[in-house]
């Protein structure tokens, strides 16, 4: 690596001193150009989503024109229809189901992952890396390979179309990610303050709640948001294991199109509404998102 630059050093730096000002100007201009390029690429890349957002505010006839119309009048009609004023199925039960499945599974994940991460980072169990890899390996097991037994179990136990079954499955789906993320966050908590608390006679729950949790709070919040996102997005389990009463928002979305024929503006409004909680959570967790997605392996 260093060999590359050494021969050029003496030759290259000296003449550049004279041309310093133009070079800097050129560099600044190039940098501004790349900034502009980034803006253009960003907007083009996001265009489909922005277009969907715009279409959701158009009337059905305006949404389905070719060539597309940018200047069509905006209306909230599609959102009104989506929320049940058009007489279709109400979106509230699936939205509430999704919210329940996501919130409760995230809560259970935290309850299970926080002590586990504690044992893997602060008061380390022996062979803690092996345990970490066991957790990770469960994430690599394709969901579809365990789906049938889960379905059969649910059918025999009378738990089909029951939101709590999804809560349990989503908890297991997110637990490995959460353990990895929290492990890396808890490893950042200084051992000295934990020891100080223990010297003062604090027991494990107290240490976790009063000492570790406040320090690791931002990391715990990011973990929760990511678990929430994954649960909210899940389709395969929800599709196979729920029907009418426990239907989640993504399943509702898929049925939305086929049952009512295609209303483009309405579909866009529905997609926007269903994606909104995830977008909000994702934008909030932006910085930690990558760490969660890469299971804590990249900081």
């Amino acid at each position: 690596m260093s060999t590359l630059s050494v021969p050029q050093t003496a030759a290259a730096t000296r003449p550049r001193v004279d041309k310093y000002a133009p070079a800097a100007r050129r560099a600044r201009r190039r940098s501004a150009g790349l900034g502009l390029l980034a803006w253009i690429v960003g907007i083009v890349f996001c265009l489909p989503a922005l277009w969907m957002l715009l279409t959701s505010f158009h009337s059905e006839p305006d949404a389905a024109t070719n060539p597309p119309s940018l200047t069509a009048p905006l209306t909230l009609d599609s959102y009104r229809v989506f929320f049940g004023e058009g007489g279709g199925a109400s979106p509230w039960p699936p939205l509430i189901n999704s919210l329940m499945a996501s919130l409760f599974s995230t809560l259970f994940v935290l309850v299970l992952a926080l002590p586990a991460a504690y044992a893997l980072s602060i008061k380390r169990v022996e062979k803690w890396t092996d345990v970490m890899f066991f957790f990770l390996s469960t994430k690599m097991l394709p969901v579809v390979a365990g789906l049938l037994p889960v379905y059969l179990f649910a059918k025999n136990a009378g738990m089909l179309d029951n939101i709590w079954l999804l809560v349990i499955l989503y908890t297991s789906m997110n637990l490995p990610i959460a353990v990895w993320m929290m492990q890396s966050f808890l490893a950042d908590v200084p051992v000295s303050i934990i020891e100080a608390a223990q010297v003062d006679g604090a027991r494990l729950p107290t240490v976790l709640l009063r000492v570790v949790a406040p320090v690791a709070a931002p990391g715990i919040a990011a973990t929760s948001l990511i678990c929430f996102i994954f649960s909210w997005n899940e389709l395969l389990f929800a599709r196979v294991l729920t029907g009418v009463t426990a239907q989640t928002a993504p399943v509702f979305l898929t049925s939305f199109v086929t049952s009512q024929g295609l209303f483009l503006a309405q579909l866009c409004a529905a997609s926007v509404v269903v994606s909104l909680p995830v977008l909000a959570a994702g934008f909030a967790a932006q910085d930690k998102l990558v760490q969660g997605l890469s299971l804590g392996a990249v900081k």
């Binding site: 690596m1 050029q8 890349f45 277009w51 579809v144 390979a145 789906l147 049938l148 900081k299």
Partner: protein, 328 residues
């Protein structure tokens, strides 16, 4: 000198023998109890995960050995490995293996390359960088079903989709009356699915690679600049080697997530026109054809394939991980 001092207190204990074992004997239960106390916080998570993820897989293994169609429950019989034979000879299943490999490979490679370009573009300070990054992350944050429905109806629709609409508008500027209006999904089904997935996964690769770029040691980059290295030289000899692990991580995690993709295939094409990947085919085999034994065997085959990728993935993650453990 110091050695003699330090060994002195130990040797009497070794010689006398008796006190040491008794102390060890008295300490063992205490130590064991302490070890269990350390393990205790770990156990709920571990037991829960084994119960919910490993047991179903064991059940899948068992079911895969049976000839079991739920529409004919009386004919259930032990079938040995015949389901596996069928997985490899059934044209539909074999084709879906091929589709899975092609789909996953294409999506991962294209999204890694695009993600790298985007990460390089964002790895510099410019006005509104945070906002642009937010724009670029958005595809990854849309609910996958929403994204797939959006591609299917808002973009690909042959009559009023944005792709054909935009093309009609563009050619209209030049007075073309009837521009070509392809039916994207029917004409190029696999590419249509791949494009939607690339759009969705590029931000994921970008985020990982951006983290990699930002972890480059600043002083080395500075030194390269002072030494007059060109942008390409810096990229080729410093940035790329540094990014290797992040590229590997992105590729492997991407593969593991995309191999399992169900939402896009289900929504865009319902597995038609040669786009059925293994997860979709397994779903169909068990949910619509009720062939429990066959679906389970196919599931086990997916697991074996994934394990092959995963062992490699674990080694990569492990190297990143041990690097971090050393730092700590």
């Amino acid at each position: 000198m110091s050695t003699s001092v330090s060994t002195a207190p130990q040797s009497p204990a070794d010689v006398s023998g008796a006190p040491a074992p008794r102390r060890a004997g008295g300490g063992a239960p205490g130590r064991r109890a302490r070890a269990w106390a350390t393990r205790a916080p770990l156990l709920p998570a571990l037991i829960f995960l084994i119960a919910v993820t490993q047991l179903p897989f064991v059940a899948t293994l068992v079911i895969s050995l049976f000839d079991w169609n739920s529409l004919a429950p009386d004919d259930r019989a032990f079938a040995g490995l015949s389901n596996y034979g069928e997985v490899f000879t059934d044209a539909r299943l074999r084709e879906s293996v091929f589709t899975t490999v092609l789909l996953t490979g294409t999506v991962v490679v294209v999204s890694v390359v695009l993600g790298l370009l985007l990460a390089l573009l964002l790895d510099r300070k410019f006005f509104g960088r945070g906002f642009v990054r937010t724009l670029l992350i958005t595809p990854f944050l849309l609910v996958p079903v929403s994204a797939a429905l959006m591609w299917k109806h808002v973009l690909y629709n042959p009559e009023y989709g944005l792709l054909n609409g935009g093309w009609a508008w563009f050619t209209g500027l030049f007075g073309v009356e009837n521009p070509g209006q392809p039916d994207w999904i029917s004409d190029m089904p696999l590419i249509a699915v791949e494009t939607a997935l690339v759009w969705q996964w590029t931000p994921f690769m970008m985020l990982i690679l951006l983290a990699g770029l930002q972890s480059r040691p600043a002083e080395i980059m500075e030194a390269a600049k002072l030494d007059g290295a060109t942008a390409w030289q810096t990229f080729r000899h410093l940035t790329l080697p540094h990014l290797r692990r992040y590229l590997e991580l992105g590729i492997l995690l991407g593969s593991i997530y995309i191999v399992q993709n169900f939402d896009a295939v289900f929504t865009l094409t319902s597995g038609g026109l040669g786009t059925a990947n293994l997860p979709y085919t397994i779903y169909q085999t068990f949910y619509q054809a009720h062939e429990y034994g066959l679906a389970s065997a196919a599931g086990v085959v997916v697991v074996i394939g994934t394990i092959a990728i995963a062992t490699f993935a674990l080694r990569v993650v492990s190297s990143l991980f041990s690097e971090e453990a050393n730092r700590a």
